[in-house]
């Protein structure tokens, strides 16, 4: 298990009581997201589809790398890794 930081994007902070970062113990991205979901109800369905895979409008990065280009949710994590959740955002005007 590694101690990692999950960065919560602004649209999901309503589920983390406004926290921009959440620390969890996890060995993989899947475990990190599960730990996040266990600590903060409601956030996980915004990131993962019911079958447990990443939603197509959300990307998860470990450091600067997209997990889709690594081992997906099985991507292993090391102590100190930063996991960033980046959702598609439409906003500009109106």
């Amino acid at each position: 298990m590694s101690r990692v930081t999950i960065r919560i994007p602004m649209p999901l902070r309503s589920y983390t009581q406004g926290a921009g970062e959440v620390q969890v113990e996890a060995g993989s991205v899947r475990e990190a997201l599960a730990a996040l979901g266990a600590a903060h109800e409601g956030v996980l369905p915004r990131v993962l589809a019911p079958e447990g895979e990443l939603r197509p409008f959300v990307n998860v990065f470990v450091g600067s790398r997209n997990v889709r280009s690594l081992d997906g949710l099985a991507t292993p994590l090391a102590d100190g890794d930063v996991v960033a959740i980046i959702p598609a955002v439409a906003g500009g005007l109106p």
């Binding site: 369905p45 990065f61 980046i86 906003g91 500009g92 005007l93």
Partner: protein
Amino acid sequence: MKARERLLAELKAGIPEIAPHDALALQARGAALVDVREPDEIAQGSAPGALRLGRSYLELRIEDAVPDPQRPIVVMCGSGTRSLFAAADLARLGYAKVSSVAGGFARWKNEGLPVELPFALDASARERYSRHLLMPEVGEAGQTKLMRSKVLLVGAGGLGSPAAYYLAAAGVGTLGLVDHDVVDRSNLQRQILHTDARVGTSKVASARQTLEALNPTVKVVGHETQLTSANVEQILAGYDVVVDGSDNFPTRYLVNDACVKLVIPNVHGSVYRFEGQVSVFWPGRNDSTGKRPGPCYRCLYPEPPPPEYAPSCAEAGVLGVLPGVIGLLQATETIKLLLGIGEPLVGRLLYFDALRASFSELSLERDPACRYCGDGREFPGYIDYERFCASAAA
């Protein structure tokens, strides 16, 4: 003997003088041909590919233009006199192989050597863009490129306002604006092209007024309509860069798909409360630059979020200055693309968190199986974007 003639005689003894056709041959073999005449003379014609650095700034500019002191330099003026003085100065700066064109441009032209009519900046443009002209990365050639460029801004709102404002200031020749909205007072917290007095009037007309007041030489083309599958190609065609500052997913996907098809770089920006994202989607880059193609928006987000997961700024709010930061990053990327300088945000996403005051750079990879820009894919056609986004599954 006058002092001037004495000095000239000394210079002639030290600086080799060569005939125009030899100068041309040297240039073809890699020598720098430096035209030191005044702008009004150059406007009448100059040797193709000549570096027009100006006599008065020559010593200050030459090292940026010709960094290698061993590269041969051929200096040309109108008749072969001023070029001797200039050549002597370059030799004194340490250039080892400097020569002067005997008879100058007059003889060059008489001997039927190639001449081009450079696009010359007039005095007012020269003054307006003087801080650009001082930088070798822009200079007269770059400024000319900007003035001949066409940029389309999708949305004249939070992102489009600062982007269009600075692109107009920079002298981008044609700015297209797509927006079908009218100015609302709640826009003015961030949409700096508009004014309180213009609340209720068309955003395109309002934006035009501000942009033309700043720079009357810029041509503003208004498209007061909503982008649709039916009109998108007609509107986008002919633009060098598209700046996507739209506020909804159907338009984002439509702009992406059209840019993929028309091979136009798409400078993407989006904002949410205190956070913003910027990237350049340019899967066609390979064709025009030989560099690796980048991903498109669909490589990153194959499907939009369902509407209930995607609140707009109208619902979620946005810090007014945030689209200023992101829109200006889009303008910066646009100018880099137009000038062909630096490293564009192709294959990279810049993520700005205003509360942390931090930028993170995330690497974006192209999806070789992407339905729109994937390897060997034929363009699958436009879709019903409203339905595509409205029916996205939760």
